[in-house]
């Protein structure tokens, strides 16, 4: 197990290094001169030279990367040229909001997804199975932003049950915060419920056809025990690996839901920065998301190796 963890950690470090390189190179993808793109065509030569020096763009590229990564390690992501604010502060203020929404939807979608998948597999080829399968198919196909707007139209504008947008901290006003959070979390969760339900269903069906299940049935165990104790435990192993993928989709969905529901999180900051051509913010957010996902994947892999010893030796 120890050598497995060490191997995975080394791999993760390499991948995280490559994520930093990709984020760093993003800024160099800008066609033409990024300094002129930021300052505009009418900037004086002195201004251009000064900003170029400030951004370190007059150094060779490896030195630029070195400086940048050094600053990142010290928590300095640079200054936003559009909002004239410290990017670290901008992100730190918004991070808890995005984390809260992501955590809620991850938990909810995993629980509901597993339950739906198990019901679907156990009641295979019944009406319930068809219904869940249909829901899962549609759930994956529905764009998150459209689902949010549909929710606003039905529950916000027509029925008037829920507020159509905005954000309140749960520590300030828990009831209002919960009412505001229901729709964004639901819009985020639906596609992931569908993904988790599909995976659980197929791995449950796979596991029901294994020899040890036949053995369990033939030695006379109750069907309920066979399904929920023997089959489900093994079926859930591949579902664990889905958490990494689910997280990636949730963060992508976060960008859309925060825009639809006007929630001041990382996602909306990314969109606003992108629309205002604030490249440094975009770069910083890409970096942070990439590193978070890498760590989650590392954690999930180690967990997977711990649950299923066969994985360790691959």
């Amino acid at each position: 197990m120890a050598s497995f963890i060490i191997r995975r950690c080394i791999q993760a470090i390499i991948v995280i290094f490559l994520v930093t390189v990709i984020s760093f190179l993003l800024l160099h993808m800008i066609p033409g001169d990024p300094v002129i793109r930021i300052l505009g065509m009418h900037a004086s030569e002195a201004q251009v030279a000064q900003l170029r020096h400030e951004m370190g763009l007059d150094l060779p590229i490896y030195a630029q990367y070195g400086n940048w990564i050094w600053n990142v390690f010290h928590g300095d992501l640079g200054q936003s040229y559009i909002y004239h604010e410290d990017i670290t502060t901008l992100i730190r203020e918004r991070f808890p909001i995005t984390f809260y929404l992501t955590f809620l939807s991850l938990t909810i979608s995993t629980i509901i997804g597993i339950i739906a998948g198990v019901i679907s597999a156990v009641k295979r080829a019944t009406f319930i199975d068809s219904f869940i399968t249909l829901f899962a198919n549609v759930g994956i196909a529905v764009p998150t932003f459209w689902l949010g707007i549909l929710g606003i139209y039905i529950f916000g504008l027509q029925l008037g049950w829920l507020p159509v947008e905005g954000w309140t901290s749960p520590f300030d006003d828990f009831w209002q915060s919960t009412r505001q959070v229901i729709m964004p979390v639901a819009a985020l969760a639906v596609p992931n419920i569908a993904i988790v339900a599909r995976q659980t269903r197929s791995s449950m069906l796979e596991s029901i056809h294994q020899d040890y299940i036949r053995t369990a049935v033939s030695k006379g165990l109750a069907q309920r025990i066979v399904f929920y104790k023997h089959a489900l435990r093994n079926a859930l192993i591949p579902v664990v690996t889905l958490v990494g993928i689910t997280l990636i989709f949730l963060i992508g969905g976060e960008v859309l839901t925060e825009t639809v529901f006007n929630i001041p999180g990382i996602g909306r900051l990314l969109v606003r920065a992108a629309l205002d051509n604030d490249y440094l913010i975009v770069q910083s957010i890409v970096l942070i998301i990439g590193v978070i996902v890498c760590f989650t994947n590392l954690f999930v892999d180690i967990l997977y190796g711990w649950i299923d010893p066969r994985i360790r030796y691959r």
């Binding site: 791999q11 764009p143 992508g252 992108a274 998301i289």
Partner: protein, 298 residues
């Protein structure tokens, strides 16, 4: 095969030998959901091809007198804030969806599969370099990666295509690499090696045809995913710029009139749901049909 036909003749039920492709076709279209999916895709292609014949209106022509009309016999889905016919824009939007989907998936599939083939076949440091870069790209949500690339490169259809290709490519690379790693252990690869076949010949004549089926499933599913992601990007206002009709930007534009004209926002979204659903259904059908465990059964 000869034995099978002898047995069936003995049983008095002569069965013609079913070719593999016919069997796949039959299994795939034995389920009605797959047929529905295929019909929707076919309709979309026809719509995109014959868009000008299907509607009397221009997709981008501003007509302020007809602004924000409710659905009527003249404008089946009403008009938007500058008087453009919504149905016409949905019809023309299908062109962008199809072009973006097909081009991005073909290109990312080709590049990704090629890199995956190299990584899986040669192994060693080639595999390490290609697969670690793939891992890094896959640590970023496709939407975020696309958004970043599109912003840096500065908007427009080609930019969105490049962004989509980069975002979709890693999946093909990883799947192909895994497939090749297991397929190259087969005896027929060793046999080709022994008779002196070159690397290129082994890769493209022997490996690729044998590992292709699961990749074909991924391609089908990705067509839907590419359309969905492009729609998300144009919903955010990044990428393909107005006045080009894209489903995503139509949903976004209509959002402001949700209370009085919900159809502006809801109808293009429904188009996205339908087409993505159709590709997913066909992809699932294809997966079942290509499942080796079902081979030999019809």
């Amino acid at each position: 095969m000869a034995e099978t036909s002898v047995t069936s003749e003995l049983q008095g039920m002569p069965q013609p030998r079913v070719s593999e492709s016919r069997r796949i076709f039959k299994v795939m279209f034995s389920r009605w959901v797959v047929i529905i999916g295929a019909i929707i895709i076919l309709l979309l292609i026809i719509t995109a091809m014959f868009a000008p014949l299907l509607t009397p209106y221009e997709p981008n022509k501003v007509n302020l007198e007809d602004s924000l009309q409710q659905p009527s016999s003249q404008h089946l889905l009403g008009t938007d804030k500058v008087g453009r016919d919504v149905l016409t824009r949905i019809i023309y939007g299908s062109r962008i969806a199809i072009i973006v989907g097909v081009v991005a998936v073909t290109a990312s599939g080709a590049i990704g599969m090629f890199l995956g083939l190299l990584a899986g076949y040669f192994g060693g440091w080639v595999e390490t370099i290609i697969m670690r870069i793939t891992d890094a790209l896959m640590s970023l949500p496709p939407l975020v990666l696309m958004l970043a690339i599109a912003v840096m490169l500065g908007g427009g259809v080609p930019t969105v295509l490049i962004a989509l290709i980069v975002a979709l490519m890693p999946t093909y690379c990883r799947l192909m690499c895994g497939q090749v790693l297991s397929a190259k252990e087969n005896d027929y690869i060793m046999a080709s090696n022994v008779i002196g076949a070159g690397n290129l010949r082994i890769m493209f004549r022997h490996l690729v045809p044998n590992v292709f089926p699961p990749l074909l499933v991924l391609i089908t599913l990705d067509l839907g995913f590419a359309i969905l992601t492009e729609a998300s990007l144009s919903f955010l206002g990044i990428g393909i710029s107005p006045p080009t009709a894209t489903w995503g930007s139509m949903v976004s534009d209509g959002q402001r009139y949700l209370l009085t004209h919900p159809i502006l926002s809801l109808s293009p979204g429904l188009a996205i749901v339908l087409i993505v659903l159709a590709f997913n259904l066909v992809g699932d059908g294809l997966r079942d049909a290509l499942d080796p465990r079902l081979r030999g059964r019809i």
